[in-house]
Amino acid sequence: MANTKEIRRRIKTVTNIRKITGAMKMVAAAKLKKVQSRAVNGRPYSERLREVVENLAGSVGNVTHPLMETRPEKRVLYIVVGADRGLAGSFNTNLMNHAMREIGDRDRNDIEIIAVGSKAISFFKKRAFPTVHVLDLPKSGADYRTVTTLSEHLSKRFTEGEVDAVYMIYAKFISAMTQEPTTMRLLPMAAPETSASLSGSDFTYEPSPDLLLQSLLPRYMNTLLYMALIESQASEQGARMSAMTAATNNADDVIGGLTLMYNKARQSAITTELTEIVSGAAALE
């Protein structure tokens, strides 16, 4: 049996680990709450925008827009949204596996990657993809301005025919415990579903529905991007929170086991000592 000093040292180490994982769990929980509230705040805008786009599409009928032009996918761009840090369980691994599956056996010279988050960046650089762009998000997380710049860049490259499709790979937020790697096609944009929810009343459009739709579609794309980025941040924090909760619980188990072992070792040491004294005294008689 290991000696008591050794066990005490191990208990101390695990206790320190537990402190760290416990703190990280709290931090992740707080960050998750913050990013969730951003998602909630952004929702009225994006949902209303979608409704209006759908409603417009309904009244215009056959919608055509340069951003909706479907071409054979010769050159494809993937935006992969990973985390900036690890220690989030299998968050990054799952996402990268999903990305690799998605890319499949496309010729690597025909694809481009925009990597978001340092984990995604190092993943694709290590695997020697010929074209890896890097997008740095502000420390505070995705903001609307950055997204607008990115989406203008994407639209330009798409309309000029440099890329034929843009996919976004990110972790969809299902609950704080579950995230799901998802692929979303950004470009060409899917034709908006036509809805009848608003068409009950006859709107006056200013300018014409057609022109209005032309200017709203790019904005609609911005919000899609923005919401996906926010969602991915929420997923990351959720994954980290559950990973750290598990780690803290494991540390508790280990500490419990070690404490038991320590007590046993201590007791057997005392017993041995007693036996020695008793038998020593007996020998003197």
């Binding site: 951003r38 705040n41 952004g42 009225p44 805008y45 994006s46 209303r48 925008l49 209006v52 409603n55 417009l56 609307y144 607008t148 203008e152 608003l198 009343s201 006859d202 709107f203 006056t204 459009y205 200013e206 300018p207 209005l212 200017s215 709203l216 904005r219 911005n222 919000t223 923005y226």
Partner: protein, 139 residues
Amino acid sequence: MAKTFELKVTDPDGIVYETDKATSLIIPSAGGFMGILADHAPVIAELQLGVATLLEEGKEPLRIVVSGGFVEVLDNTVMMLAEAAEREDEIDTERAERAKEHALKLLEDHTRPDYDRVQARLDRALLRLKVAGVSARRK
């Protein structure tokens, strides 16, 4: 008493202003300024950079700097969905000043491919400064 309508101003970061006692709203639509009173016909209009002026029952007029987006009027409810919206009393003049300086420096290069965009950014910063300045003087 004038009839009132409901108004919600939102941008991607959240709700900027909300009231159900609005009596009049003037918005910078893409085709020029547009006035909205209660019982306005249903409209969807595009917004451009400019100042929206809101009159509310028993309150001072409130001005809101909006850039881009659109507005929807339906059943006495006005939804303003702006790319960015700021109330005159919440304009961050320091940030606007910085944005202005930055844009001016970028504009020294006349061959920039994104000249228009930087110009738009400058316009926005200038408008914000102007509105914030007027608002501060009135107090």
